[in-house]
Subunit: 277 residues, 2 copies
């Protein structure tokens, strides 16, 4: 009997000490994810998206209840499927109400050169973004608005953090994602390809509406967004072609990162769509 | 010596059992807030906003460190200020890193009739919104976009939940907020005042860009947003004058509530601003 078999009852893994579980569980830590280039996708929707990418899923952990509920996911997967107890699943998941299934997946980031090559009209550059939920929501907005890539600067949150993956609701699989890129290098690469870089910042001397009216937003654009708490320092805004501020009509002093990104990206998408039609 | 004095050391309240603390702490529960019509504002920014509203703050709990750091807040407040230990402050706060100050404040919601009366060009109606963070972010976006009111339908999250208050970043104080209103009644009241009600939903037969091009968005509008998970049921969208969908240019199936609200509200604000100018 192997070590692991002592943790199995009637074909269900019942202990977090089983080797396959502890190995997967280590991926909750950023350093382990970075070393293995593997992350955990949690919940049926995320697992379904991962399975759509050939070769992306390495193995699946599922409770008996979830296995009965989502048979399509398990028959689609040509990978090891481990039946686990609810307690083991809880230990792998980082939501309070995990939905019974977690997959070990390969990182899906691309080389930055590829991200640049695929960005023709709209891209996103995140500088030192730290909140994983915000980062995931921005990826989702970028996808919805039709952006062709998202790039995370060095010093940003891990794009494969559980919260980021969940907040992206599958969008990490929908568009090229480049991570760990020096911000100045990234800006120069997009500019060299003929895209303007617009920094979104409250200090901007151009109002988003005026940028729209002047035709600026219709140009191929990479939006640069800064940290949730401190925004973009001058050294970052100086890299951009223009600094654009979202007009604040009421008394709010700012928008949060993901809503600001949604407003800017949709303003560009609309302006570009109008110009094309 | 009163009961409370046994929990005080050198003028600092050191026990959560002190009566003033346990009474304030009860306000972490929705039912207690509703009965007392009081809530807890946490952090120097929220307390500063509350102090700007005459009579809004009932009492303040502050650590010695925060009292030294924000003397302006305490001199501005003509209310009881309780010096408390870090442990007591932690018990009152619901963030992991409270910033040393919590104020007991009166509810600032208004009669729905007042909210309607003050809504001339742009309003927000939330139907069964349950996530407190999302609700607060929508209030912040509504404020930023210049909306004149936010109304929560019956069955929505408590607008004075700690997370909602924090996510609003002061905006609960900036525009009229009405809560617990029957959705159909609310829609009819806004329509009777001459505002159109636009439901934001993926099922909409009008695209937001087309709504803009056709001039629809320039009209006085109340946006109706649904629940984070299930959106708006047919019975709700049927109340609206039009159902508008945000165009999805990539593969994302939807936006989250707060980013969708930001896109819709800013589209209206821009259209209305253009028409005026």
């Amino acid at each position: 009997m192997s070590d692991d078999q002592t943790y199995v009852e009637s074909g269900v893994i019942t202990s977090v000490r089983a080797r396959v579980v502890s190995r997967a569980r280590a991926l909750r830590r950023r350093t382990e994810r970075a070393d293995a280039r593997l992350f955990l996708a949690e919940g049926p929707q995320a697992v379904r998206e991962a399975l759509n990418v050939p070769g992306n899923v390495r193995e699946i952990f599922v409770t008996e209840y979830a296995a009965d509920k989502h048979p399509d996911l398990l028959t689609a997967a040509d990978v090891p499927v481990h039946l686990v107890s609810g307690e083991v699943l809880d230990a792998l998941a980082d939501t309070v109400t995990p939905q019974g299934i977690v997959a070990v997946c390969e990182f899906v980031d691309v080389d930055f050169d590829d991200a640049v090559a695929q960005t023709s009209t709209l891209g996103v550059l995140l500088a030192q973004v730290r909140d994983p939920g915000n980062a995931g929501t921005v990826i989702r907005c970028a996808d919805a608005a039709g952006a062709q890539s998202v790039t995370f600067s060095t010093g940003s949150v891990d794009a494969f953090n559980g919260k980021t993956v969940r907040a992206s609701v599958g969008s990490i699989y929908h568009l090229p994602l480049a991570t760990g890129i020096d911000l100045a290098d990234a800006v120069r690469a997009f500019q060299a390809k003929g895209l303007q870089v617009l920094a979104a910042d409250g200090s901007g001397d151009i109002d988003l509406d005026d940028a729209d009216d002047s035709g600026l937003l219709a140009e191929p654009t990479v939006w640069l967004f800064g940290n949730e708490a401190w925004g973009l320092p001058d050294s970052d805004t100086e890299l951009a072609d223009h600094v654009v501020r979202i007009p604040l009509h009421g008394q709010a002093e700012s928008l949060n990162l993901s809503t600001a990104a949604a407003v800017c990206l949709y303003a560009s998408a609309r302006a570009q769509r109008r110009t094309r039609s």
